[in-house]
Amino acid sequence: MEDQQRDDPRFIIAKHEALMGIALVIFNFLWWFGFAYGLGSKPVSEYSYILGLPSWFFYSCVVGLFVVIGLVFIMVKFFLKDVDFDGEHEG
């Protein structure tokens, strides 16, 4: 049964997509962490503001959310593949 699983081309697709998920979450984390502590670690009196929000927060949380939504959109549109869940060996 295990060997049969490995041959199924759908599982290669599934594995690729799971790896994309890991890549995306790592990118998401780095963006979030980088802007938050990169810009936010200086004293509050030296903060600059965008749309009323401290710039670290604006880039990390607000822009970060839009960037991630954009990436999910691109992934869904161009990289994820349509597979049949019921049949045995269709791609």
Partner: protein, 479 residues
């Protein structure tokens, strides 16, 4: 002013009830009761799938205690809450197509069916069912109490009366309509959550005289509220980052979320749900927590965190609008409770009763049992909620992280690592749970990280080592 709120609540309950009745008819028409009742016949489309995942995950904490914490800590808590955006795409991408295909191949209806088929071990089934029943029952009870308190505070009814209203409405639609009712009501509740968040955000912006003004007020009060370190600069980057494990990636191991990853119709539904889910979770988490921070400038001096959001809604919005906004936390609580109720019922009926007590039960018997057990569990939660026992309150503290530490590796590695076996799975479940309880009790937040991080690493390690060791033994004995 209470009449407006009560009126919207009544309309909300009526809509939910109608959906329950409609789903009940689908249950009666369905050819396989178990598939329909516990998994909605795997027919969820993208929108409903995204909404039911987001709404099941987003609970009282996203609308009441979360904004309350943001009110106290400032923007740092919004930063922390944003780690949850990952749940919008991560669970579906990781479990993804493989889980959907394997679940169909195994004809699995519950998460435990999947584990049983994958590991061929009754011990895994018992351990998994028992952890689901104990921990989700306690989690449900905590949410249930929160729901009743909310009804109590916005309608002025007594706690007991509020609890009765809450209990009757949840038990009715879940017991009659099963998974389809839960998913459809989740879609309505999720929509209310998003709309409520946006209305309140705009209301707070207007009442506070714009974001610049609000941030200025906070800076004058305490500049640290604007920093990523919290109001007393005590939230370390390490601590905040570790929430990516608890509420970001670890959510893959939550049974109530994972089971949804086997309920969708086709790959297109999954793709659409990825996008909608990310947007919905993102808007709710950013919006509600930012609202919590803004509330500090608009209505200072609130002592009880859970009251921040309701107080703000009643202060800044016209009455009829605050009614709609206040159904949002109600919707968040209900959409979590209904999924938990059904999941506990499925563990009792499908995983324990059908596997061990009566494997040859007829369709009619299963049906009667499922509906009765679901209702009975609901009644049991109600009775406990009247006078919550300390043990259950204590258990609830472990339910979130504990379940993640128990389930994440048996599910994920069971899908992607063919050498994983039942010994590894069993050992990692036990180690995950026991180490989580021990760490929380004796050494919480070890190395300045949330308690969940270490137990999760231990259970990964255990799964790997035990699987490797027992596979080797197996090979040797075959020689």
């Amino acid at each position: 002013m209470k009449t407006a709120v009560v009126l919207t609540l009544i309309i909300f309950f009526v809509i939910i009830f109608i959906i329950g009745l409609y789903s009940g008819r689908m249950v009666n028409r369905s050819t396989s009761f178990v598939q329909e009742y516990f998994l909605g016949s795997r027919e969820l489309g993208g929108f409903i799938l995204a909404m039911t995942m987001a709404a099941t995950y987003g609970s009282a904490s996203s609308f009441l205690s979360g904004p309350g914490a943001a009110y106290q800590y400032g923007l740092a808590w919004v930063l922390l809450a944003m780690s949850q955006v990952a749940t919008g795409y991560f669970v579906l991408l990781i479990l993804g197509k493989k889980f959907a295909i394997m679940a169909r191949k195994y004809k699995a209806v519950t998460l435990i069916d999947f584990l049983y088929a994958r590991y061929q071990s009754k011990a895994v089934v018992v351990l998994a069912s028992v952890s689901i029943i104990i921990f989700l029952f306690s989690a449900m009870l905590a949410q249930w109490i929160g729901g009743a308190r909310l009804v109590e505070s916005i309608t002025g009814l007594s706690y007991t009366k509020a609890l009765i209203i809450f209990a009757i409405s949840v038990i009715m639609y879940v017991a009659i309509g099963g998974f389809r009712a839960v998913a459809l009501t989740d879609a309505v509740q999720g929509t209310i959550m998003v709309i409520g968040t946006m209305i309140l955000l705009v209301g707070a912006l207007v009442a506070g005289g714009g974001m610049e003004n609000i941030m200025g007020t906070l800076r004058e009060e305490n500049p640290n509220l604007l920093s990523p370190f919290g109001h007393d600069r005590n939230l370390s980057p390490m601590y905040i980052s570790s929430f990516w494990i608890l509420v970001g990636v670890g959510v893959v191991g939550l049974p109530q979320v994972a089971v949804r990853a086997m309920s969708y119709k086709n790959a297109k539904a999954m793709h659409r749900a990825l996008l909608i889910g990310t947007i919905v979770v993102g808007v709710i988490m950013l919006g509600m927590h930012l609202i919590g921070v803004m509330a500090r400038a608009i209505i200072p001096g609130i002592e009880v965190g859970d009251k921040v959001m309701p107080e703000l809604a009643m202060t800044v919005l016209p009455h009829w609008l605050s009614g709609i906004v206040l159904t949002a936390p109600m919707a968040a609580i209900m959409s979590t409770v209904d999924s938990l109720l059904l999941l506990v019922a499925s563990a009792v009926v499908k995983d324990l009763y059908l596997n061990f007590i009566k494997p040859d039960a007829t369709e009619q018997t299963i049906k009667r049992w499922s509906i009765t057990i679901t209702a009975m569990i609901g009644v049991a939660v109600f009775l406990f909620a009247l006078n919550p026992p300390n043990l259950i309150i204590w258990l609830n503290l472990f339910s979130f992280g504990g379940l993640e530490a128990v389930f994440i590796w048996p599910i994920v590695l069971g899908l992607y690592w063919k050498n994983g076996n039942k010994h590894g799975a069993l050992a990692s479940m036990v180690v995950g749970m026991v180490s989580y309880i021990l760490f929380s009790t004796f050494y919480p937040n070890a190395f300045k990280m949330h308690t969940v991080v270490l137990p999760m690493m231990f259970s990964l390690f255990t799964y790997y080592i035990i699987s490797k060791m027992t596979n080797k033994k197996l090979k040797e004995s075959m020689k």
